[in-house]
Amino acid sequence: MTNALAGVVFVPMAALFAVILLPSRYSRAVAIAGLLLWPIFLIPLTAMVRAEGAVTLALGNWPVPLGIGWRVDGLTVVTLWLNAAVALAGTVRAAGFFDPERHGARTYWPLWLLLVTATNAALVSADLFNLYVGLELITLVSVALIATADNVPALRAAMRYLLLGMLGSLFYLLGVGMVYGQTGSLALAVPAGGAALDSTALVLMLTGLMVKAAVFPLHVWLPDSYGQAPGPVGALLAAVAGKVALVALWRIWFLFAPDDTALPWLIGALGSAAVVYGSLAAMVQTRLKRVVAYSSVAQVGFLLMVVPLASPAAFQGAGFHLLVHGFAKAAMFLAAANILIALGTDAVGRLSGLDKRMPLEAFTLALAGVTLVGLPPTGGFIGKWKLLEVAWQQAGWAWLITILLSGLLSAAYVFRILAMTCFHPRHSGSRAVPRKPPLAASLAALLLALCGVVIGMFPGPVLRLLALAAPGGVS
């Protein structure tokens, strides 16, 4: 039955090879088939995780560490489902715009499938080095996908991302080498004897992951990359692929962190700074896609709050917010991309009257926006509430203020956009939509935004899965 775990990585990979080998007129169909097929393996996998807590697999029965070990727990399952949903929505969106005979389609579909494969492979890694390989693959494929936009700003953004990504993986790899030298093991598990790691190794690994996760002030590559990437790519990167490094950071922190340092405070402070800086920057951006990109900087900061608030409830809250944020952010990126194609611009100043011209997109932006703000009954409320509760119980006032501030500041940049689309005085302006997006593309974005809301009304199953995932280091 653990074969289901292998399917999660190998099915999208098989689709990838099929796309490369078959003539390009089949690319789209094969890509969609592959992306519909692999989530089927998630169903038995989810059932197993619910029954047993975690599923492990040693590929080809080679013993770890020479072989490759995979492990899936509740957090992984939730993130894998998110990847399935966002990848499918992005595929619907891309399928509507990529003419299969066009030149770009030949490079786009293999890379798209490879991004899904790499994300899954990195998520299920059970050791530090496989995680490195997965993260490196994600970075390379992301850069290639951003570069498919094939214009100077996109290529510059891709190049900057690649250089910083390589720098980040260098630091991470150096840390991994130190861990192996110290413990003789690469396993992503509590080290034998429960000894805390050498803090140099820990800080090196965390720094590397912070570059890849775009934690303030190491976020400089993010706004340009996500802002210039084609719509579906921005959605998948911001929702899942870019968050893998953050998930890895959580895991490594809770497995290896020493008890008595100022590190949690430092990481929490970086998170708080990210919340403030990212939100303020999102407020002053002139292009919608960049507003959404800067909002990612703020949300990454928010998700770091779990480090100083270490507790199973905080971990549940952060995991839930990761899922909800993924839905909302992907919906916003897809809607922004539809707007950009339809109107020829995504300048915030040109969005007036959008609720009449593109009602589905305006509705999507509003739904995803209030989810990010965390208003009940959306999913955004649950994660925030859990973290708030923990901060209150632990008397972590600084984190309490950050969490509240995060909601308030998100409201500021979300409502600026909504006010522009619905209540601008020039409301009666042109109703023309130069190039209407396909209905499927609009609905894909709307469906993701709805997922973010509906999950807030039925959070039970997800929270139960996440409760199984609370790592050993969380007391």
């Binding site: 290529l155 690649l162 250089l163 390589m166 150096l174 080498g177 030298g181």
Partner: protein
């Protein structure tokens, strides 16, 4: 003493790489700098786990081999990206400040 010598050498190479990555303008130089840093990391990876004159441990060597494969492909890809950027923009450097609207 030999071990310390290697560590110092790796640290020096790493430092030169950091300097190059931050200071150099041309992308080719930046890529060379990243590759220097990679060499230093690979050297350290072997040093941390293998005592000088002791029995070699195969695992770090497997890791370094994988790392070299990744480094080669990343560098090749980065070079292709650089060439494309040069063809489109006429220069193989990144601007220090990216204007918001394009």
């Amino acid at each position: 003493m030999t071990a310390e010598l290697y560590v110092f050498a790796a640290a020096a190479v790493f430092g030169i790489g950091v300097h190059g990555l931050l200071i150099a303008r041309h992308l080719m130089r930046k890529l060379l700098a990243v590759n220097l840093m990679l060499s230093a990391v690979f050297l350290l990876l072997l040093l941390f786990s293998t005592p000088i004159g002791g029995k070699p441990d195969p695992i770090p060597q497997a890791l370094v081999l994988t790392g070299i494969v990744i480094a080669v492909s990343s560098t090749a890809f980065a070079l292709a990206l650089m060439v494309r950027l040069f063809r489109l923009s006429g220069r193989a450097t990144l601007p220090r400040f990216e204007p918001d609207d394009d």
